[in-house]
Symmetry: C2
Amino acid sequence: MNRQDLKKYLNIYQNGLLEDILPFWIKHAIDWEDGGFNFCLDRDGSIIDTDKGVWQTGRFTWMILTLYNEVEKREDWLKIGKHGIDFLEKHCYDEKGKMYFTLDKKGNPLRMRRYVYSESFAAIAYAAYYKATGIERYREKAREAFDSFCRYNNTAGLIPSKYTENRKMRSMGVPMIGIVSAQELRHNLDDDTFTSQISTWIREISQYFMNHQYQAVMETVGPEGELIDHFDGRTLNPGHALEGAWFIMKEAEYRNKDPELIKLGSTMLDWMWEIGWDKQYGGIFYFRDVKGLPVQEYWHDMKFWWPHNEAVIATLLAHQLTGDEKYADWHEKVQQWSFSHFPDPEFGEWYGYLHRDGRISVPLKGNIWKGPFHVPRMYYMAWKICESILKTQTQ
Amino acid sequence: MNRQDLKKYLNIYQNGLLEDILPFWIKHAIDWEDGGFNFCLDRDGSIIDTDKGVWQTGRFTWMILTLYNEVEKREDWLKIGKHGIDFLEKHCYDEKGKMYFTLDKKGNPLRMRRYVYSESFAAIAYAAYYKATGIERYREKAREAFDSFCRYNNTAGLIPSKYTENRKMRSMGVPMIGIVSAQELRHNLDDDTFTSQISTWIREISQYFMNHQYQAVMETVGPEGELIDHFDGRTLNPGHALEGAWFIMKEAEYRNKDPELIKLGSTMLDWMWEIGWDKQYGGIFYFRDVKGLPVQEYWHDMKFWWPHNEAVIATLLAHQLTGDEKYADWHEKVQQWSFSHFPDPEFGEWYGYLHRDGRISVPLKGNIWKGPFHVPRMYYMAWKICESILKTQTQ
């Protein structure tokens, strides 16, 4: 990519984050009355549901504290970060220490789910808060939440299985979220012991989820990586795989551009771009069947915000690490499609749910699944990658 | 409706059932090798997933035995019915007697869900088999399964709640499925004691789920019928409400055209036709928000097969019971839209999943949710209603 384009993109991402995305959420989402955040927002930022998701609480807290740590020591960002941390600590745990999935406006628990992703997102929030404040207690809280995530996922039977023993399966969600959470903890707790755990999860992905026959990153496989030839086992999630691809490329970058990890991450990107990019309308499909059969999930051909966020990061990072212009082209493609369909020029932020051809399905800006995470993380990451490429070129 | 139109529709429904819908499933879905049925079929009837759903097993078994009992004593139908009954008895119960949700091809259990709808569909299958054969054991099996459905739903705590006590709610699914199951048992076991239980469930719907302020049939409400002003509580399911409407109108018919029940059922239809009918593209929306706010479920504006099946029955039955030509018009509207979008003229049966404008989303004919139930039940019911109106006119 030439310097002019790099500067153009750097500006888009930096300004978009600081002047559009972040102000939207800071203005509308903070519940100064009852604590925590209101993320279920209509197009104009008005609240359409006062329930509070724990995933998004941890994620936004991490995001804003990361901006505090890495971009600028703004007191208002730290204050919002502490506001999120307080809510997590005060309301989000049951009596056994497992974290809830949703709470009501006052912080009363509504739903506990069997999964432990609330813990992984809380862990990165605590770690960022430790980095911001140096308060030792949050180093411990971060470790505790991360250990809980690992323990539940590594101890057979601790999470009640959805399926019986007759359909044994592994899902890519655990190693993927494990990798990125451990990367955050390693960085913010300044502790390199997380690296070996990251290596284990990367090996798990490489060994079990890379289907070379179909050139596809699987979401769910048998215990030894076998294709589970049923609806669920065949269902691919391109956005998820592209997210995993850049987690691994980021690890490659951390390890002095480890060629094996660059190869793995860029192969994941190559395969899932081919499968996930909609050659007719543009944009990234939500689900595809590895054999091209009909998918059971109804929204398979819709265009959601977050796969596009992950595709922007993955293509840009692949370009940075390999210098391959193919990735710069793909970045341009997905950037163009995303920015001409998702952003709301009137009220700011992105729509989340588009039909295949890019028409808006619902105009809301947030719900229990969509909050200030994938969108601002993309703007932040892409800004920093552009900056880094420009810096390297100058040297 | 004039006699010519009635005869036209009667032919469409009768011939469609006997020459298109039923032959499709009989040809493709019966697993003579391992028992039970393969309902996960691609457009041409080829199997795309060998897993077996318990809901659909009970439902199809009920359907084909109902045709045996009510239409013609065909030995092949009885044989298929027994084939379904055998699979239910042999494979579908856990050691405590609770029924599974899915099994693999060989009948090994895959998933147990907290809900007890497998039981309600097994109950009507057993009752139809008792009617067909007179074997006393199936009268008992039907009662057992029905009692299990009632016990789980009426005993607080027996089904682990998805939400905590902080968000108490009632769902319309239980009284609705309760009513239609009890109607089937009453008919096939020739036992009028089910009537009082049906009355209780109808009162529950009338008292708690009819929101007169919004003129809407709610899906989920607070313990006293309060509007739960969150995504889930505001989400309406027009097809589901239309299905409930005709269950209640059928009860009105059974009770010598009880005017109060006709009023309740036709009001449910009036309200939810107004909310559910897509005035722009035609067809019935999947979900709507009672306040017109964005819906959280992604497929809210898609057109699924079964709400159209339920709308055809509800409008036709309302026309029969009230004589109101408005319902004949609505029937024509939904019949026309459905028959010009859902049927597959090449391979038979209906597509299940269309986009809002009627374009096909996936060409499959069956999966864990779609099987030979709503479609053939509509053809059968609509045929019989047309027949009944013609008969009355002649008298």
